[in-house]
């Protein structure tokens, strides 16, 4: 079966030649919103990091790297993403194995790979590589996918997810599963199969529970009853809820968040930065941020609808929805409606790999939109 060869749009693209040439692609709606979110993020980080300009500068450098990734990705012809998908997937899977074998132990968990000048987390790259691989696998098949095909997809997603969960980084593992799952969802899988897979997932819950580390179990239990553990994990949630709740409509003002500045709030500059924002900028500030996030998601879905082949359509749709999942999981955890799983707030939490990977994803969206061809009627 070689449906791809007859897919329209393939021929005119070939005439364009090497990747990266042609007109400069800059998706202005995406770019402007990204700038707004990162700028807001840096402002909040300055306060959350105890007015340490050095940390803000380091995060600024990471954001600059991220925008560079955005521009580079945006110039690439989308079909190259498709061609590279299996290679990227295999390389990242190899890196994950490398981390598992001799990864540097960072904070008691093996996540980081040291390649001389930079240290990065391969698990972050897998958040992109897994949906690309699934989209690649499904793009030339008749959709909706059949059951045997779904089994392959499940393997594509679960192998890296298990490796990441063993690091142990349950949050990222679940996000990789979400990213791959969203591709399948968008590919038109029937409602019956969706319900069936939810059933399977529920059946696996006890297995997952047994495989979890003690601290992960503690997080789930504490989520169910934060007051049961006021000295440990429950403390985070209690303090974060106080920070958010005391923010009121317009917040205590920038640099005036007592919860954050008196160090009541844990992980202020990383996972719990949303609470700092809510304390200092109030409901108004966080709703503004949520709107910016929705603009990004909306633009991504629009790009997906406009995309011209199955691969780019599936990829664009899943990247946009996964991005929303990040936002929802982080904000939900900080405000106490989801368990604490250690997922950063996208584009705002301090941290490099996540910033660059996400910007690269938006670059891919820009590329998918910017390199469309006018269709023959």
């Amino acid at each position: 079966m070689s449906l791809s060869s007859v897919e329209w749009g393939a021929k005119p693209r070939k005439a364009l030649g090497a990747p990266g040439l042609g007109k400069l692609v800059v998706d202005l709606p995406l770019l402007l919103t990204l700038i707004a979110v990162t700028a807001f993020g840096l402002v909040v980080l300055y306060s959350a990091a105890g007015e340490d300009l050095g940390r803000v500068a380091r995060q600024g450098v990471r954001a600059a790297l991220g925008f560079a990734a955005f521009f580079v990705m945006a110039q690439i012809q989308p079909r190259y993403f498709r061609i590279w998908s299996p290679w990227l997937y295999c390389v990242v899977l190899g890196l994950l194995l490398a981390v598992a074998v001799e990864g540097e132990i960072s904070q008691g968990a093996q996540r980081w790979l040291d390649i001389g000048i930079v240290r990065f987390q391969p698990s972050e790259l897998m958040k992109l590589a897994a949906p690309m691989m699934v989209a690649w696998f499904l793009h030339d098949r008749t959709l909706p996918p059949s059951l045997p095909q779904l089994v392959v997809v499940v393997l594509i997603v679960l192998v890296p997810a298990v490796l990441i969960a063993r690091q142990p980084d349950l949050g990222t593992a679940l996000l990789v599963v979400a990213a791959g799952g969203l591709v399948v969802l968008l590919s038109g899988i029937t409602v019956r199969l969706i319900l069936a897979s939810i059933g399977v997932a529920l059946a696996f819950a006890p297995v997952l529970w047994i495989a979890m580390h003690d601290y992960q179990r503690a997080r789930v239990l504490t989520f169910l009853n934060p007051e049961s553990d006021p000295l440990g994990a429950g403390y985070n949630i209690i303090q974060s809820k106080i920070a958010i709740g005391s923010g009121h409509l317009f917040g205590k003002g920038w640099l005036n968040g007592t919860q954050a500045h008196l160090e009541f709030l844990p992980e202020r500059s990383t996972d719990f930065i949303f609470a700092v924002m809510a304390e200092e900028f109030g409901l108004f500030g966080v709703v503004l941020l949520l709107i910016l996030y929705l603009v990004l998601v909306g633009r991504g879905l629009y790009i997906a609808i406009q995309a011209q082949d199955t691969y780019t359509r599936l990829l664009a749709g899943s990247l946009s929805l996964t991005f929303f999942v990040y936002v929802f999981v982080n904000a939900g955890m900080v405000s106490g409606i989801l368990p604490v799983v250690g997922v950063p707030l996208p584009l705002v939490s301090a941290g490099g790999t996540s910033m660059v990977t996400l910007m690269g994803c938006f670059g891919i969206l820009a590329a998918i939109h910017g390199h469309r061809k006018l269709l023959p009627a």
Binding site: L283, L301, A304
Partner: protein, 642 residues
């Protein structure tokens, strides 16, 4: 194009399907966002008053309340580790005008260490102004010295605290261990929550192994503090209690009751004092460790109070290695103490009868080889049977026996007595010894070339007198002696025999753990037992002098292990060689020989022969045991439990 149309049709269908999925997803995204915003409205609008109160000018802080550490008793209820009130020097940063000057003045009084100046400055600066920063524990004299000059030090105060105290100091150090400040590596193996507020943790020995039992559970107290963190309300005050502030009291740790008998432990320590070595006494009937001493020892109280970095470095660099637990981790060639076990193997495998005799000319030669394996008695022992060979510790008899038994059978018997792997005593830091065999030698990485991995016949010969590769720890030696005493019954050596509830004092006894026993004919046992009694009673017994005149019958065996190899034609001359290269003295014994209650192993490093250096120590331990016999309380205690 007929071929293309189905694809095209599929394509349209796919696109429609995709569109519907995107639309559905968009709806879900909006719904979830609405949930999020709803939650934020709930927290920030409806619950604002409550959270604002908690946050704005008052807020809740949780102060951990550390539990009191359990005590450690010996088998008779004598306290070996307790918590004493102590004075702590504290600083209140906001009341100190000139920190450098204050610290200099304190150093001039000898209350803080000049070398720690910067550390203390950093420590104090890292706390908030109103917090009381612990600087160090003070002795009573230091506290008094400070108290009369208190007015000169605004911002410096003394307060009461608890410090771990070991009344027997170095005598119990290597068995009980000590507590010290929680280090980075400790943090990785504990539940940090339960240690919020705890400053010390067990580092070695009982203190470390039974850390979970001794520590207890942390409690907490909710306090209302102001925007700068100062305590405004506390549940201990009436207003705080009215405001609904909670206190959860900590659960103190359980007391640990040890098998040690401090009378015996002290006698052992005193007998060994001044030398380097170790002694272990075990009750062969249940594996209870009655005494466990390694010398030189250290003062655990100094470590619990906190040593300065230079003092700790000096302790570690000490040539006599006081921190090293020789009883558990010191490995020595067993020398002739191995002979009773090999004698038993000879009878068991029927390689010798009680009456078989070997002639000892003062040396042994393997057939076809000129190398002379010397006996310790150059003129030889003449013709002897097994009993004579053990009583006089004849080497030649055992050289020949080793060759006849073969290394595999020797190794098998020794392993069954518990030599080789660690015994599994319930305190950490134990390492195993070595029971060599051809298989063992092949697996050793230090023998690199294949021809070095080969087992040589000569290696079997010297294994017959406990030399060569074989290594044992004093604990293993005591355990094996206890096994011999108990006619083959084995128990895992243990120091903890029970725990005690802190509130009600209810004692929970832990049953001893039996290990696979050694198959032993009573007849064989009688022969070996009789020979070992001969060692202390026979006119030619190697330990007749140090054990003369006991009113209990002792079965024993001396041992001397070489540190220094004497050249083939030269003589061992003690005066000529360095003290550190002199032979180690060893002695094993159990008593009363007819129904053994105590088994001991003594090793004295570089002490010369076992008879001269180690046997007198064993004599003192046994004398102490029989002087105190029947006056302990634990037996009644245990009987009451049942």
């Amino acid at each position: 194009m007929p071929k293309r149309s189905p694809t095209l049709k599929d394509h349209w269908r796919e696109q429609r399907l995709f569109l519907s999925r995107v639309a559905a997803s968009a709806v879900v995204v909006l719904l979830l966002t609405a949930v999020l915003v709803g939650r934020l409205v709930q927290l920030q609008v409806f619950d604002y008053q409550r959270f604002s109160e908690l946050s704005q000018d008052n807020r809740l802080r949780i102060e951990p309340l550390p539990p009191t550490r359990g005590l450690i008793y010996d088998r008779n209820g004598v306290v070996i580790a307790e918590n004493l009130p102590t004075w702590q020097l504290v600083a209140i940063p906001e009341q100190i005008a000139d920190l450098d000057a204050v610290l200099r003045d304190l150093a001039a009084l000898g209350l803080v260490d000049e070398g720690e100046h910067q550390t203390l400055v950093d420590l104090i600066r890292s706390h908030r102004g109103f917090e009381r920063v612990k600087l160090r524990n003070l002795t009573e004299a230091e506290a008094a010295r400070f108290a009369v000059r208190r007015h000169r030090f605004p911002g410096i105060d003394i307060q009461e605290g608890l410090v771990r105290y070991y009344p027997f100091g170095p005598a119990s150090a290597h068995a009980v261990g000590y507590v010290g400040s929680i280090s980075q590596s400790d943090l990785e193996r504990i539940d940090r929550r339960n240690y919020a507020g705890t400053s010390h943790i067990g580092k070695t020995g009982i203190e470390r192994t039974y850390e979970d039992v001794l520590h207890g559970e942390v409690g907490y107290r909710q306090q209302v503090v102001n925007a700068r963190g100062r305590v405004l309300l506390d549940p201990a005050e009436e207003e705080g209690a009215v405001a609904g502030l909670e206190t959860k009291w900590p659960v103190p740790g359980r007391n640990v009751v040890l098998s040690l008998d401090m009378r015996l432990q002290l006698a052992t320590y005193e007998a060994l004092l001044g030398s380097r070595g170790a002694a272990v006494a075990i009750d062969p009937r249940n594996g209870d460790v009655l005494a466990l001493v390694s010398v030189p020892a250290f003062d655990p109280n100094r470590l619990a109070a906190g040593l300065s970095r230079s003092d700790f470095a000096a302790l570690q660099a000490d040539n006599d290695r006081p921190l090293f637990n020789r009883a558990l981790a010191g490995r020595y060639p067993p020398g002739s103490t191995i002979k009773p076990f090999l004698g038993f193997a000879a009878l068991h495998y029927e390689k010798r009868t009680e009456h078989d005799r070997t002639y000892c000319p003062g040396f042994f030669r393997l057939p076809g080889n000129t190398h002379r394996y010397r006996d310790w008695r150059p003129q030889g022992h003449g013709s002897l049977d097994l009993r004579d060979a053990i009583v006089q510790s004849c080497d030649v008899y055992f050289y020949q026996l080793a060759v006849d038994l073969g290394i595999e059978r020797m190794a098998g018997t020794l392993l069954s007595f518990g030599f080789g792997p660690p015994t599994g005593i319930d305190i950490n830091g134990e390492i195993g010894g070595v029971v060599p065999s051809p298989e063992w030698k092949r697996a050793q990485p230090q023998f690199k070339r294949p021809e070095d991995k080969v087992w040589f016949p000569g290696e079997t010969v010297i294994a017959g007198i406990g030399q060569g590769y074989m290594l044992v720890t004093p604990l293993q030696l005591a355990h094996a002696t206890a096994t011999l005493a108990a006619r083959g019954a084995r128990f895992r050596p243990r120091l903890m025999i029970g725990t005690e509830d802190t509130f009600e004092g209810r004692f929970t006894y832990v049953e001893p753990e039996p290990l696979p026993s050694v198959e032993m004919d009573d007849a064989d046992w009688e022969i070996v037992n009789d020979a070992m009694i001969g060692v202390t009673r026979d006119p030619r017994g190697t330990a007749r002098t140090p054990l003369a005149g006991t009113d209990y019958v002792v079965a024993g065996k001396t041992g001397t292990s070489q540190v220094f190899t004497v050249a083939q034609e030269a003589k061992y001359n003690e005066e000529e060689i360095d003290e550190r290269l002199r032979d180690h003295g060893l002695f094993i014994a159990y008593a009363p020989a007819e129904s053994p209650e105590i088994a001991v192993a003594v090793v004295v490093e570089n002490g010369g022969g076992g008879s001269r250096a180690a046997a007198p120590v064993a004599r003192k331990i046994l004398d102490a045991y029989f002087a105190a016999r029947g006056t302990g309380v634990v037996e009644d205690y245990v009987a009451l439990q049942r």
